[in-house]
Assembly symmetry: C2
Homo-oligomer: 231 residues x 2
DNA sequence: CCATGATAGATAGTGGCACTGTCCACTAGC
DNA sequence: GCTAGTGGACAGTGCCACTATCTATCATGG
């Protein structure tokens, strides 16, 4: 198909498609002439993904490019894909200043946290820098927040990751698996945080009504957390 | 103190402080003359918080204003504070278009999800719209993603919320409690997602090496992830 | 008293980013 | 041939988070 049909089917304006092509978010079509190129389903699919990442999720164009590059270049290796995809994501706020990422005064605390959780991750994992920076920010705010308080969060994060990996377990096609991994991790983030807030609201109301007792509300519905197998 | 000292102590340029004053992110000082005002510790504290929200977390100025307004206007009611603070946060991508938030074709699915989880939340909770939009995006991408797949995430979100609420349980001072709630929910978000990614990496490697078994690493050969003390 | 510097308030400007408009040479398809 | 469409290039737009500058005070030291 040509660019006008690509635009029609993806809902993205032609000029924006050209922009994405320039920026490397979309792979070029097969050129049939100096001013003619042929696009296919993969372009439609990828355009929709780009719009989801940039428009819905709010990723910057640069971050989206990195993420997509990671997915489509190593589609054969799910583990590698996971690492790259999620590494490039990090957060909207960490654009630039990649140099100081590696060195943070709180990195030892992060290592202690990972050790306490029993996790084995690569040294350069960007997530470590994010955690370090968060600890740093909390300290600057005067909050006495120790890395130990992140341990329960880490344990729950492990369960979330288990659900994530279960979600891509059965996919055979490498490309589809990579895309699914990307979608599950990146696009689900706002939903997860929204669920957290909804749960906070629910439990806050429940605790208010039932007294300041333990985390699980006494008789109340309290969130219906089923006892999933031990982490 | 005067504005120059406020600038020095908070690390925020004077011009930026004026900007925040204009935008309502910082409460005005006590005016002592047409061109003189007195600032105090509360301004220093709040400025640091603003910088954390806007700079580190990447919140828009408008969103930060809403969040802070919610915190400092109803400091007496923790439950109310939670609701407002977390409501205003939502996500960076949902600025504008607040009108269509209420009506989403997928809202019934979200209600079904909340029902399955046993949660009781207010109808206008912004988190619901975020979840609805995520389901919508996933559907547009052709992913066959049912709301039922969010149930395990919801259960884990409930546990996270329980940890969150535990973290603000014992605080007596209402203002401090409100601030802590804000910090725990908003500033911790990137860290939580980073932990999720780190856990994915760890477990992906573990599953790869040990087959499709449990999320915990088998023997954990303890590579270079030792908790080295401060350099 | 008055020079000096800081201050509040207002207005305009800056730089970055994600597009968007426009122009050109050329091609496809009638 | 003729018209609509195309790829490529480049400038322009709108938004946003600041930032610079200007003015009319005000505070203080000498």
């Amino acid at each position: 198909m040509r660019i006008s049909e690509l635009s029609r089917r993806s809902g993205v304006p032609i000029t924006t498609i050209k922009y994405y092509l320039r920026e490397g978010l979309l792979h070029a079509g097969r050129a049939t002439a100096p001013n003619q190129a042929e696009y296919d389903e993969s372009h439609v699919r990828r355009l929709r993904l780009v719009r989801a990442l940039v428009g819905v999720r709010g990723l910057s164009v640069g971050a989206a490019k990195e993420v997509l590059g990671g997915v489509y270049e190593r589609e054969g290796d799910p583990h590698r894909v996971l690492g790259l995809v999620l590494g490039a994501t990090a957060d909207a706020a960490d654009t630039g200043d990649a140099a100081e990422d590696a060195e943070s005064p709180r990195m030892p605390e992060v290592d202690a946290l990972l050790d306490a959780l029993g996790w084995q991750v690569s040294d350069g994992a960007p997530g470590k820098a994010v955690v370090a920076r968060t600890l740093d920010t909390l300290a600057e705010l005067g909050t006495d927040y120790d890395w130990k308080r992140l341990v329960p969060y880490g344990e729950l994060a492990a369960r979330i990751a288990a659900v994530d990996l279960d979600g891509i377990e059965g996919i055979r096609d490498p490309l589809e698996m990579a895309e699914r991994a990307l979608v599950l991790t990146v696009l689900l983030e706002p939903a997860l945080m929204a669920l957290r807030r909804l749960a906070q609201e629910h439990q806050s109301a429940a605790r208010r009504g039932a007294g300041p007792e333990g985390p699980d509300a006494p008789g109340a519905p309290a969130g219906g957390v089923s006892p999933s197998p031990a982490p």
